[in-house]
């Protein structure tokens, strides 16, 4: 991965077809096994949750609903089995209630899948709103500098002073009852400050480059320079920051729902499921483990993807090894 820039420089030097920056980045990302596997798994979890309980009016393959209490089967124990029969297990089956049932008999598989789906809605909307807003604010502040920058950055400071979870709790208390989408968008409106600062710093340095000067001489408007010339060059920062926000979004939503200021019953959220059932940990541990697993796993996968993106956008990896610096002379001596 470290050598890819020098490699590509070599190939273009020898007269081979040049590659665009974005295809180089994509190649570097695809070559990173950890992040590719994470991306595939993340999409798989998302697709699984959608196909299980459907999307909006379209029903999924799982027949039960996440709101209806049903009679308890085997006191709500999970019927999921992953140990094949020839190993002495009950075979690979889902059973009637794969993740068990809550105390009042709601099918936990449906509730968890609904929670996963809501997590993804929150990721997409929250990270989307925050990224767009932060990018626009940062771009304008960094491009125009002067008093525009001063005003926008003071506004950013104002929002940074309040910890996200605190203002999130207030916003959630206000809008949590109005549905997941609305909550996610409102939370996005208070989570854009980090991106704005990063994009601004990037714009401050990019606006001094020659290509901006060239565009201006060619008569491009400010909006065109910002969005067509500078922004593509700052995309790396934006995408990496967006991936970090996406991971934080899961944690923010589940934490707010846990506190009771996020998604409310009868709608299902993973944080809400943990909060409702943590007191039953000793007797029904599965009510804790299944939502916990589906909170941590997507967040972890997104973090790995973000790490891969960062490496792909910024291949100047710091490869330093004490061992190498120390042992090299010895090796030379041995060879001699």
């Amino acid at each position: 991965m470290t050598n890819s820039t020098t490699e590509s420089a070599k190939t273009t030097g020898e007269g081979a077809v040049g590659e665009s920056q974005s295809s180089l980045i994509l190649k570097r990302f695809v070559r990173n096994k950890t992040s590719m596997v994470s991306l595939v798994l993340l999409i798989a979890i998302f697709a699984f949750s959608i196909s299980a309980i459907g999307l909006g009016p379209i029903p999924g393959w799982w027949p039960l609903d996440y709101r209806n209490p049903l009679p308890l089967v085997d006191s709500g124990r999970p019927t999921l089995s992953v140990i094949p029969e020839w190993l002495g297990g009950a075979g690979i089956t889902l059973g009637e209630h794969p993740f068990g049932q809550t105390r009042i008999g709601i099918d936990y598989f449906a509730a968890t899948m609904r929670g996963v789906q809501n997590s993804f809605v929150v990721i997409v909307l929250l990270a989307g709103v925050a990224t767009v807003l932060g990018t626009v604010v940062g771009a304008i502040a960094g491009y125009y500098r002067g008093w525009v920058d001063a005003i926008l950055m003071r506004i950013t400071d104002v929002f940074i002073v309040i910890p996200t979870i605190v203002v999130g709790a207030v916003v959630g208390r206000m809008t949590g009852g109005l549905g997941v989408q609305f909550l996610a968008i409102c939370l996005g409106l208070v989570a854009w400050m980090g991106i704005a600062r990063l994009v601004r710093a990037e714009f401050l340095s990019l606006r001094e480059r020659e290509f901006v000067e060239a565009a201006r001489v060619a008569g491009a408007s400010d909006a065109r320079i910002i969005f067509k010339h500078i922004l593509p060059n700052a995309m790396g920062v934006v995408i990496v920051a967006a991936s970090l926000i996406a991971a934080a979004a899961i944690l923010l939503e589940t934490a707010l729902s846990y506190l009771g200021y996020g998604i409310r019953a009868p709608e299902s959220s993973l944080g809400l499921l943990v909060s409702d059932n943590q007191s039953a940990f000793a007797t029904r541990p599965w009510l804790f483990w299944f939502p916990a697993f589906f909170i941590v796993t997507p967040a972890l996968l997104i973090n790995f993807i973000g790490d891969g993106l960062r490496d792909a956008f910024d291949p100047r990896q710091k490869r330093f090894s004490v061992r190498r610096t120390k042992e090299l002379p010895e090796n030379v001596e041995q060879r001699a």
Partner: protein, 513 residues
């Protein structure tokens, strides 16, 4: 410098004013503050509603009501004016609610911040120095995992698996680790140690064997003396540990080549060891102040020792002696706390289940400073761990990235080229430069940590500021929320300011303007 400070303060006040307005209006519009009364069927509900509207001026629209609040709050900053942050829905003054809550939160957050910085930075440094080793990859995974672990999950898991299981194990009567567990723990530690040592296969095997044998022997000894029921370091254990501190601190800070530092560290260690025998009688009647004075006296004595022995490299020797003295006296104090452990366990209020899962102290427990200290420790142990985990991951990543960045600089190559040992290169040339980015992160993290305390306090039922915020938000009780906001916002601004100042301290090239 002065104009920098003045400008920063003015900008901060402006930020604070606008942020408080937004916070006030958002909170006031987030729900109905009369809900509990409107739902109650008390005969005088109507009258109570009228009283609440009148006393909290709920009939004034929130944006206008903010001016009233701001006028009262301004009194807290202006000298000689009365500080009025309003009252909560039960007409208790917020200024009376805040101090206790803030004390709990500060106790919680400060301990975990310090622990997170120490462990995070050390782990990050080791990770960077052993880049792409098994240890590095393992820590990378652990820190990503901790990043993705919500604090409420961590807290619930700690409660279940640390507190309840440990208590069960301890109260079951025969609290022995057992042969199998001993062997497994010894193996795990040995594997970690050999990954830390890295280097040649021979070094790794030696590290593996030594650490496995040492761990096994120690755990076997703990079982043999029934340590968990009657813990204590004892005269021999303390001597060994202090010797270890002397050797460790000298090796890291100055290297064994510096004889004066080694002698100074040894004298400081002996001083601490002697004080262990001399001070036991005084400890029995000690208060927190006695300990504080003793601690200061120890540091002063170590300073003098360092000064006298110092010779040409006085500053470094003083650092070594003071660090050794500090750490060794911590051990002496810890041993005294452990001596109170059997009495604590046997107390009917505790009944052999020491690790608490809720609250800040055991109700109705009385005793001397050591017993009550243990009680605080057992109550704050889990919340502190769970808050530490939140920041630890970030600090590790940043410390690792920072050190890698620094180690590639030309001045490091220069330092190596002029023949300095790797220890001097890392501790003197790289470490300080690495701290610069960390300072920003730590300062920015204080806000996050206070936010995390919101959830941790809820899970562990600690009545800190987070709990105050939570309860108030549930009732749309604006004034306590604004009190909470003021405290955390001022803290955040203050720490950012300190970070800016510490840049100048760490990096002489930076001049604050």
């Amino acid at each position: 410098m002065l104009s920098f400070i003045v400008r920063r303060i003015l900008a901060s006040i402006l930020t604070l004013v606008v942020a408080s307005f937004i916070m006030y209006v958002l909170t006031a519009y987030s729900g109905n503050p009369l809900q509990d009364l409107q739902a109650s069927n008390a005969p005088n509900a109507q009258q109570l509603i009228g009283q609440r509207i009148e006393r909290l001026s709920l009939d004034v629209p929130p944006p206008l009501r903010w001016f009233g609040w701001a006028a009262g709050a301004a009194g807290c900053i202006v000298p000689f004016a009365t500080c009025d942050l309003g009252t909560d829905l039960n007409y208790t003054a917020v200024t009376a609610l805040l101090p206790n809550a803030a004390a709990s939160t500060v106790r919680l957050v400060s301990a975990s911040t310090i622990l997170a910085i120490i462990f995070g930075v050390i782990t990050g440094i080791v990770s960077a120095l052993r880049q792409y080793s098994a240890f590095d990859l393992g820590m990378t995974f652990v820190s990503f995992f901790l990043y993705s672990l919500p604090s409420f999950l961590a807290a619930v898991l700690l409660k279940e698996f640390v507190a309840i299981d440990f208590n069960n194990w301890l109260s079951s009567g025969d609290s022995e680790i057992g042969f199998v567990a001993t062997a497994v723990i010894a193996l795990v530690i040995a594997v970690i140690m050999q990954a830390l040592v890295a280097g040649s296969t021979r070094n790794r095997v030696i590290a593996f064997a030594i650490s496995a044998a040492a761990t096994f022997g120690m755990l076997y000894y703990l079982d043999a003396v029934d340590w968990f029921q009657r813990p204590g370091l004892g005269a021999i254990g303390l001597a060994l540990l202090i010797a270890g501190i002397v050797a460790g601190v000298t090796a890291v800070v100055s290297g064994f080549g510096n004889r004066r530092a080694l002698i100074g560290a040894g004298v400081a260690g002996v001083l601490a060891y002697v004080s262990y025998f001399v001070l036991q009688g005084l400890f029995a009647v000690s208060t927190i102040w006695t300990i504080g004075i003793l601690g200061l006296a120890t540091l002063a004595a170590c300073f003098v020792i360092g000064w006298l022995i110092g010779g040409p490299d006085r500053g470094q020797v003083i650092r070594v002696t003071m660090l050794v003295g500090f750490l060794s006296s911590l051990l002496v104090i810890a041993d005294r706390f452990l001596q109170a452990w059997p009495a604590y366990l046997a107390s009917p209020r505790i009944n052999n289940r020491p690790i608490a899962t809720v609250g800040e102290q055991t109700v109705g427990l009385t005793g001397d400073m050591w017993l009550m200290g243990l009680d605080t420790f057992t109550h704050f142990l889990l919340p502190t761990i769970s808050l530490t985990l939140i920041s630890f991951a970030g600090y590790t990543r940043y410390a690792r990235a920072g050190l890698l960045e620094v180690m590639n600089q030309d001045y490091i190559r220069t330092a190596r080229a002029k023949g300095l040992s790797e220890r001097v290169v890392v501790t003197r040339h790289a470490f300080r430069n690495m701290l610069i980015p960390i300072t920003t992160i730590v300062a920015a993290d204080i806000g996050v940590l206070l936010g995390g305390a919101l959830i941790t306090e809820r899970v562990f039922a600690i009545s800190g500021m987070g709990a105050l915020f939570n309860a108030s938000l549930g009732r749309v009780d604006v004034n306590p929320i604004m009190g909470y906001f003021l405290v955390i916002a001022i803290t955040a601004i203050l720490f950012n300011f300190l970070a800016d100042l510490s840049y100048a301290l760490l990096d002489p090239r930076v001049r604050v303007k």
